[in-house]
Amino acid sequence: MAAITPPRGASLAGIPQLRASRFEGRNLKNLIYTIVALIVAGIAAIPLISVLYMLLSEGGVRLFGNVVAIFTELPPAGFEMGGGFGNAIIGTCVMVGIAALISVPVGILCATYLAILGPANRLATVSRFLAKVLTGFPSILAGVFAYAVVVLWMGTYSAIAGGIALSVLMLPTVILTAEEAMKMVPQRMKDAAFGMGCTRSQVIWSVVLPTGLPGILTGVMLAVAGAAGESAPLLFTALFSNYWMSSLSEPTASLSILIYNFSGMPFENQIELAWTASLVLVLIVLVFNILSRIFGRQKY
């Protein structure tokens, strides 16, 4: 820190000069820091712009030029031209659907316990802590877990195993956001319902859940968006398939694994398809992100 010097002109007029120049001492330092900080922040925005530009320029041509083939054809083999990844889109949707079917009811029930039934008791405290720890749980370990439990038990890689792995990853998001949403429900609304003689579950069903619904949906949408983009757990549970899906208990294709597989291939066509699949995947994720923002905007 610069030493504080007496203001210029102080001795001449007897009045200290209170207006400091922008370019001296501490102010200059302040200005430099501001410029550096803004430049650093600007650099932080470059990756997103670059990713979006690459997705549109590399994947956009194929997607918009050949929509029907992309959605209705199977992934091409080695030197084949054309093709699409309809099976991977279906596979991703099915597995995320299974995961949502498991994690949404369980997560919301757990959140009602954390927010309303036992906010401060030991069970709630431990559950909440573990849910927070699970948010930072490496996704690949969810895959390893689902492999050890479901794949070894069923004897085959399957969409069910993939869905279960994804549900482990969705649970903490659903629980923590739903808990926050239910805590935001004003106490007087709950009191009014109790005063009318409602049982605790009637209060939850008819007052807390409907009022907290937008917040709960925000969490669900965020969880779905996250799960749709996951790939590491699927590597261990759903693997990949080059064919249309015929049952839930067979290896299943997904967009993210398709991108992973095709990214390392030496063929132009496959790399182009990897970019197109990335664009489709990012669009799916963005749609759910935007949905979550729309639900989150309604305040009560």
């Binding site: 990713v51 029930l109 757990c110 069970l123 991108i259 992973y260 963005l286």
Partner: protein, 322 residues
């Protein structure tokens, strides 16, 4: 007066009635379901630890602790060791934390200390949040076709000019540590930025005003008052960001080069625990799978400790700034 007597006294005109048997049963069922789900979370975490531990057990009993310090991963001779992977995991995550942490905290400061007009701040905040929405594989693909070609000339120039420094001792042939670290730091930036923003925003406004009232410039207030006050939350953000970086898989599997070696060089290929699992799993036989499970257990232990520590710091920090 018994409860039924109360309702009799109200007379037949009254619409109120005691909860029926069904209401009581529904209430009890619902509550026990909710308790069941809360218990389920605890059971799930315990079951995950148990299952991964159980699957790794054959490897643990045959390799013991040598597994953690061994440096070979040789499937044909069944020699497995994960020291290079542990090194790669920690080294890449620390470097990513250095870069991502610096950018993330700067972004948080710019967004919370009124540097930008509100409209632009909203746009910029959305951009940073969107960074978190891009899937890991897409970052991997982007890293292969954008980051590697972009930094290769710089890396190779650094190697030629400053090759005597251990960090630049190899040239960047393609996949390597540096591209992986860059992508990794982009991926943890939103986490660090979001949590640090919360920490900075929870400082009462009068703290800031008091600093300005003492005649500080904006950055003196930030460095001497705001950051020290929010330090608990910012530290928690860094720890949680580190936890994210440790477990990140796909982008690293695509970018880091999967070479089991210990090197200080930023441009040499390396490996991490997660990318070892992702890249070796599809072709692994039973014995290698057990060894990979052991690696998974090691990763689980590292991330679990880091995340518990981070979550604990966060709850401590939020309790003490209010």
């Amino acid at each position: 007066m018994s409860r039924n007597a109360v309702f009799q006294a109200l007379g037949s005109e009254s619409v109120s009635r005691p909860p029926s048997k069904f209401d009581y049963a529904a209430d009890r069922t619902f509550r026990s379901l909710a308790i069941g789900c809360a218990v389920l979370i605890i059971a799930l975490v315990a079951y995950i630890l148990w299952e991964i531990g159980g699957a790794a057990w054959p490897a643990i009993s045959s390799y013991g602790l040598d597994f953690l310090v061994g440096t070979d991963w040789n499937v044909s001779e069944q020699e497995f060791g994960i020291l290079p992977q542990i090194w790669g995991t920690l080294y890449s995550s620390l470097l990513a934390l250095l870069i991502g942490g610096f950018f993330g905290i700067t972004v948080a400061i710019v967004l919370t200390q009124h540097f930008l007009p509100p409209r632009i701040a909203i746009v910029f905040r959305t951009i940073v949040e969107m960074l978190a929405a891009i899937p890991s594989v897409v970052y991997g693909l982007w890293g292969i076709y954008v980051v590697i070609p972009a930094i290769r000339p710089v890396a190779n120039w650094l190697h030629e000019a400053l090759g005597f420094i251990p960090f630049f001792s190899t040239s960047l042939a393609g996949p390597g540590l540096m591209p992986a670290v860059i992508v990794l730091s982009i991926m943890i930036l939103p986490t660090v930025a979001a949590i640090s923003q919360d920490a900075l925003q929870s400082i009462p406004f009068k703290t800031r005003e008091a600093a300005f009232g003492m005649g500080t410039t904006r950055w003196e207030a930030i460095f001497r008052v705001m950051i020290p006050t929010a330090s608990g939350g910012i530290f928690g953000a860094l720890v949680l960001g580190f936890g994210r970086a440790l477990g990140e898989t796909m982008a690293l599997a695509m970018l880091i080069g999967n070479a089991n070696q210990i090197s200080l060089s930023l441009f040499a290929p390396a490996n991490t625990l997660a990318s070892l699992m992702a890249s070796n799993w599809p072709e692994a036989g039973a014995i290698e799978q057990n060894a990979l499970m052991y690696a998974a257990l090691a990763l689980l232990a590292i991330t679990f400790v880091v995340n518990v520590f981070g979550t604990w710091i966060m709850s401590y920090a939020t309790r003490h700034t209010r």
